[in-house]
Symmetry: C2
Subunit: 153 residues, 2 copies
């Protein structure tokens, strides 16, 4: 089964090259594609946060496969499958991040904490609702702290 998708928007920001860390200072503009009506953003400012699904088009095809490896190739960390990690080298090259909505312009959104580089195609935007938050207590392994140490600096 082949699934054909089309960008509904594009990311504009100052981060021009792929980098793993230091995303907190980046403010991004998500600009609607020409074929998407501006009214599709009506009511969005009633939400403080959005989930953004984007397509990491700079990932090489040969790296976009299911893997079993050390996160960031750090051998002090346990070997893990692709679906126990959030790293960008994965089948379908999808990124997913919860961002803070700062402002809506007629055909774009100004957001904080989007870890996507300039020009990245956006496939969907969904408002964060508490009804879709994780139910119950969240449990995660200790190695995530190592990986995420400088991510949001």
């Amino acid at each position: 089964m082949n699934i054909q998708l089309t960008p509904i928007a594009y990311v504009k920001n100052t981060r021009k090259e792929v980098k793993d860390d230091d995303w907190s200072s980046i403010i991004s503009e998500i600009e609607l594609a020409d074929n998407i009506i501006a009214e599709s953003l009506e009511g969005i400012t009633e939400f403080s946060h959005l989930q953004v699904i984007f397509y990491m088009d700079k990932v090489l095809d040969e790296k976009a496969i299911a893997q079993y490896r050390h996160p960031r190739n750090d051998t002090t960390l346990p070997k893990l499958g692709t679906y126990a990690q959030r790293n960008k080298n994965r089948p379908n090259k999808l990124g997913l991040t919860t961002v803070e909505l700062l402002e809506r312009k007629p055909r774009s959104l100004i957001v904080k904490n989007l870890d996507a580089i300039d020009g990245t195609p956006v496939l969907d935007i969904k408002p964060v609702m508490l009804e879709f938050a994780p139910k119950g207590i969240i449990r995660q392994p200790a190695w995530t702290k190592v990986i995420m140490k400088n991510y949001w600096t």
Copy 2:
């Protein structure tokens, strides 16, 4: 720009037809596609929750467009853009839900709170990390309560 994706897994459950509400009782199995290695799930049970991105292939193409309408066509609710809603009729037909991981089998995951019907193609699975949780206080409009009243029953 056309983006070609391939399912990495498929949903198996007892929900055979599209329905808006009553998802809490549904337990789903997410079974890896044949070309995805089983080792891609290694380490996943250290996480309690997963984000699942799926392709709602039963949505008709003519409804998969950016819209400005009342949620669930309920005129007592405000008219809203597609990106201020989470409903299934949207460009690219992407669904996104945080599920609870109950069990890992060699090539599949047993999960709770996945609002996808039987046979739905899955495009990505990401572990929930607190570092990717919304930063700051979450604000959302009152109409979401009306919409979500019977969703997780």
